[in-house]
Structures are given as C-alpha cells and as structure tokens.
C-alpha cells in the first residue's frame, strides 16, 4: 500500500468540439491530507473532479484511489470516494431523510443499518429538524449541508468538495470549516476546490494550482506562502494623524486619520517600524494583514 489517497498520472481530457480541458496533469495527494485545488474558472478543476468521480470520461491517463486503478476496479474505487458536486444534484421533490437514506442504499448499505447512520449525519449537519421537508423547500445553505451529508453517508476515505461553500453565509461557512476539519482529523482525506482563497489558507495543508489544464503549483501551503516577497499590513491607530509619518525604510500611507497602511519586504523586521512609530509618539492599537496573502500569490501564479 502506498502513502497516497489519490494518484493522477498524465491525465488528459479533450471534449467534443476540441476543447482541451486537461493537458496531461499529474498529482499525488497523501492519505490524511487536506488538499486545496485552486484555479480560475475553466482551468480544469471540475473536469479533474468529474474524471475522478467517473462523471466525465477521460481521454487518457490514469487515476488511482487508494492504489485502486479506476480502470480496473471502479466499484471498489468509488466505494472509497465521496464527492460534493458544485451544482445541486438531488431530487428536489424528495424528503431530506429519503435522499440520504437512498444514497446509502446506492452504496449497498441496508436500510436497517442506514437508519442510525442517517440520523447521526443529519443531526451532525443540523438537518435533523428538516428531515421530513422536501429538498426544494430548503435554503441554499441547507442544500449545501444536504450535499455533504449525502457524500459522507457511506463513510468515504477520500472526500472531494467542489466549491462547497459557494453562496453560503459567513456563519455557515465557518461551521462547515469546523466540520471538515473534524472529519479530516478523524482520518478522511479531503480535496477542496474553492474560490474563497481564505478558505484554502485556513483549512488546507497542501495546495495545487491548475491553470489552462496544467498544474502550475503543487506544494505545501507553508511553502507557497513563504514565497511572498511583500506583505501588506493595516495599522489601526489610537489617536488620529493629520499627515503621513516619515519612517525610514517603510512606505506608509494614511488611509484615514486612524488607519496607516504599509508594505513590508520579507527581509525586513517589522519591529523596526514599531520602534520608529513609538519614537514619533504614534501608538498602534491593532494590526492586521492588508488582504488575503494567498490571493496575491494566486494572481501572480496564474499570470505567469
């Protein structure tokens, strides 16, 4: 047994009409990893996920899930996999509890066994009170939860989520993050695609960036963030300023009388900035990153 939950080798996909979605990508995701697969729209993320879940037919290449080649034993490979698709893909006219119970049945779980599993899952995702509601009556956030409940009901070892928090409010997004962290800690390998780069930064240990059907980055989150040359900081001041202070080695901008913004090169110590501000009698109340760090890198990577 290898150490990988997912191995993709030279995967290619050309759609009818000649659109090349994947130009031969190779990727390895370790067991227990929380992996972010990022990329702009049309980069090939959904095609990759579609091929792993056998919803899309590959042109060539190999996909292995826990060492099982999907071309040789697709049933066993699929039994280890759970996929949360980007689009809602359940019958809108069925009850929540029936949708999840039926999904368990599609994985060969008997109804008598599925019953308690379904209850646990629906309670865990806050859907138990809505178990007898028709799916079409659920709000967008609850529909997302239902998608996750469906994907997890057979306890997959590898869970792939294609933009699971798209259109979900901040509170629910945070709840989902906690839930995903918990199942990852309990041993489920997770691959996540998202447009919220903060989400990837918060959750994922490793990251791949795909662009124009090619993997342009495949590294650890720490390593990627280390590549940042400059970080932007926002300083909230205790007392208002009338003019931008002159601090040697730092370019400071006064965004409003109580907010200073600066860019700090990674070879410089930020202590020097605080010392100089202190000497000028400027007291800093709090400090935060100017913007999402990963976002800057992401734009840089896909521009190359």
């Amino acid at each position: 047994m290898s150490e990988f939950a997912l191995q993709i080798d030279n995967l290619k996909k050309t759609y009818k009409g000649g659109t090349v979605a994947l130009k031969g990508i190779s990727l390895k995701v370790k067991k227990g990893d929380f992996y972010a697969l990022l990329g702009p729209n049309g980069a090939g993320k959904s095609s990759t996920i579609g091929i792993i879940g056998t919803l899309v037919t590959k042109t060539s290449g190999q996909v292995k899930i826990f060492d099982i080649d999907t071309d040789k034993d697709v049933a066993t490979a699929k039994s280890l996999l759970g996929v949360v698709s980007q689009e809602i893909n359940f019958s809108q006219f069925e009850k929540v509890i029936d949708i999840v119970t039926t999904q368990a049945g599609f994985y060969g779980i008997k109804k008598s066994i599925a019953k308690s599993k379904v209850e646990t899952m629906l309670r865990r995702l806050g859907l138990w009170d809505k178990r007898n509601d028709q799916a079409r009556t659920l709000s967008g956030g609850y529909k997302r939860r239902l998608m996750i409940a469906k994907a997890l009901i057979h306890e997959p070892k590898l869970l792939i989520l294609d933009e699971p928090t798209a259109g979900v409010d901040i509170e629910l997004r945070r709840e989902m993050w906690d839930f995903l962290k918990e199942i990852n800690i309990n041993g489920t390998t997770i691959i996540l695609t998202t447009h919220y780069l903060e989400e990837a930064e918060q959750l994922c240990k490793n990251i791949g960036i795909i662009d124009h059907g090619e993997i342009v980055v495949d590294t650890s989150m720490k390593d990627l963030l280390r590549r940042l040359d400059v970080q932007g900081f926002v300083l909230d001041l205790e007392e208002p300023l009338k003019f931008e202070p002159n601090v040697e080695g730092f370019d400071l901008k006064l965004e409003d009388p109580l907010t200073l913004v600066t860019a700090v090169n990674k070879d410089k110590s930020i202590n020097s900035l605080f010392e100089q501000l202190n000497q000028l009698g400027i007291k800093v109340k709090s400090m935060r990153n100017e913007s999402n760090r990963l976002e800057e890198l992401f734009i840089e990577m896909i521009k190359k």
Partner: protein, 260 residues
C-alpha cells in the same frame, strides 16, 4: 476493502422508482382508469352493440376491446414511466448520485426497468378491473400466456423508454416518440378492430406494425383468438428484449448521453 451488496443497491433503486410513481398516483394511475372508462362507455356500451360479432371473431365488441385497451395502457405507461423518470434524473443532475456510486450499470438499467414494469402491470390490472364494470363475465382464456405477454411487453417498452431518455436533450425529445410513433402504431395495431376487416393490401401493411403482434398475442391469452402467430410474436418480443437490453448496457457503459 468494502464489498458492495448489489442486491441492496438494486432494491434501493427499484423501490425508489416504484415510490416515485405511487407518490404521484393522480398523474400516473388515475388518468388511464378514466381514459379507458371513456373508451368502454363510448365504444363499448354506445357504439359496440351496433357492431356485428362476425367482425370481432364472435365476441361482443366491448369484450373484444378489453385486451387491446389493457395492452395500450401497459405500453404507454411502461414507456412513459422510464422515459420521464430517467430523463428527470438527467435533467435534475441527480443521475450523478447513481453514476458516482459503485452500482454496476446493469443494476441501474434493471432498477429503472422494474419501475416501468411495476407501473405498466399495475395500470394493466387497474384497466382490467375497470373493464369488469362493463363486462363482468369476462373469463381469461389462457392466464399463463396473458401474464407472460403482460410482463414481456412491459419490459420491452420500458427498455425503449430508457433508450429514448438516454438520447433526450429536452422535454420535447421525450414526448416526440410517444406522440408521433407509439400512439399511431398502437391505434393502428388492432386495439379496436381485427385486421380481417381490412382489405388484403391494408392487412399486409398492418403486419409490418409491431404493435399488432403484441396486441394480438395478448388477445390470444385473454380471449383465445389472434390475427397473427403467437409463437412468432413471442419469439420476436424476446429477441427485441435481448437486442434492446444489450443496446442499453452498451450506451450506459460508453456513457453516451449521461457522461461528458
């Protein structure tokens, strides 16, 4: 590694399909009962007594119509159940639930066919019960043949509905064949008349209509009379079931119409 219990997957899909048409019984079970009641009232009770028994092999017209109307209901409902259900799962994308699961393709096909057969047979029974209000003394001549043809026909048209749904890209595509192909062939397939009433030329043309064989084989089972060879008809139904089953599995394995 997890071993998949195939019988559970099949039972899950088949029972889901049956629950689906039972849940919407007003749309699936009531209309055939009402439509067929109207046929029995208008053609059976009002017009029927004026038709000479010689042209209906010696049977009362209402009695002669019963097998044809049952078969018409079985064919249209088996077909409609599978084509609408499978196209709906494609349209709603809930087909992904099936494709992503470890279910083999043959269980997906069989699950939908069981749904179609259950609806077809149930509607057939309902129409037969309705017919007893108009002809209470009806006796089935050959119950084994009747039941066999009932199930085989239902399987055959469920398979046709499945292929239609695979190739359908819109709701128009699932109504074209039932409206413009199935319905005319059924009406011209001896539901209301014996082809012995027709001229030799029209009889020859009618023999090219596959519905004629299905309707008449069922009539042989229920009344003991037929315009065609029962052995030949049963053989052809079985051959077409085999051809369509292989075609459906080929399409599913290739992912045509369901995978990108």
């Amino acid at each position: 590694m997890k071993k998949i219990n195939i019988s559970v997957t099949l039972w899950t899909l088949a029972s889901k399909e049956v629950r689906r048409f039972l849940r919407i019984w007003v749309q699936t079970l009531v209309p055939p009962a009402i439509t067929m009641s109207l046929y029995f009232v208008i053609f059976g009770s009002l017009i029927g007594p004026n038709i000479k028994p010689e042209v209906t092999d010696g049977f009362a017209y209402v009695q002669y119509m019963i097998p044809g109307l049952i078969m018409m209901s079985v064919i249209t409902n088996s077909y409609a159940n599978v084509v609408s259900s499978f196209y709906s799962v494609k349209f709603q994308k809930s087909i992904e639930e099936l494709l992503i699961s470890p279910m083999p393709n043959w269980t997906i096909l069989l699950g939908f066919i069981i749904g179609g057969v259950c609806r077809g047979v149930l509607v057939g029974i309902i129409v037969f019960i309705v017919s007893l209000f108009f002809y209470p003394d009806f006796q089935i001549a050959n119950p084994l043949l009747t039941v066999s043809v009932l199930f085989l026909t239902s399987i055959l048209f469920s398979l046709m509905g499945f292929i239609n749904a695979i190739f359908a890209d819109s709701f128009d595509d699932i109504s074209v064949i039932p409206t413009f192909v199935l319905t005319p062939l059924i009406y011209l397939g001896g539901v209301f008349y014996s082809i012995n009433m027709l001229s030799p030329t029209l009889q020859s043309i009618s023999k090219a209509n596959p519905m004629l064989y299905v309707v008449n084989t069922f009539r042989e089972g229920m009344l003991g009379v037929s315009d065609v060879s029962v052995v030949f008809s049963l053989g052809m139904i079985c051959v077409f079931i085999c051809i369509l089953t292989i075609s459906c599995l080929y399409l599913l394995n290739k992912g045509i119409g369901i995978r990108e």
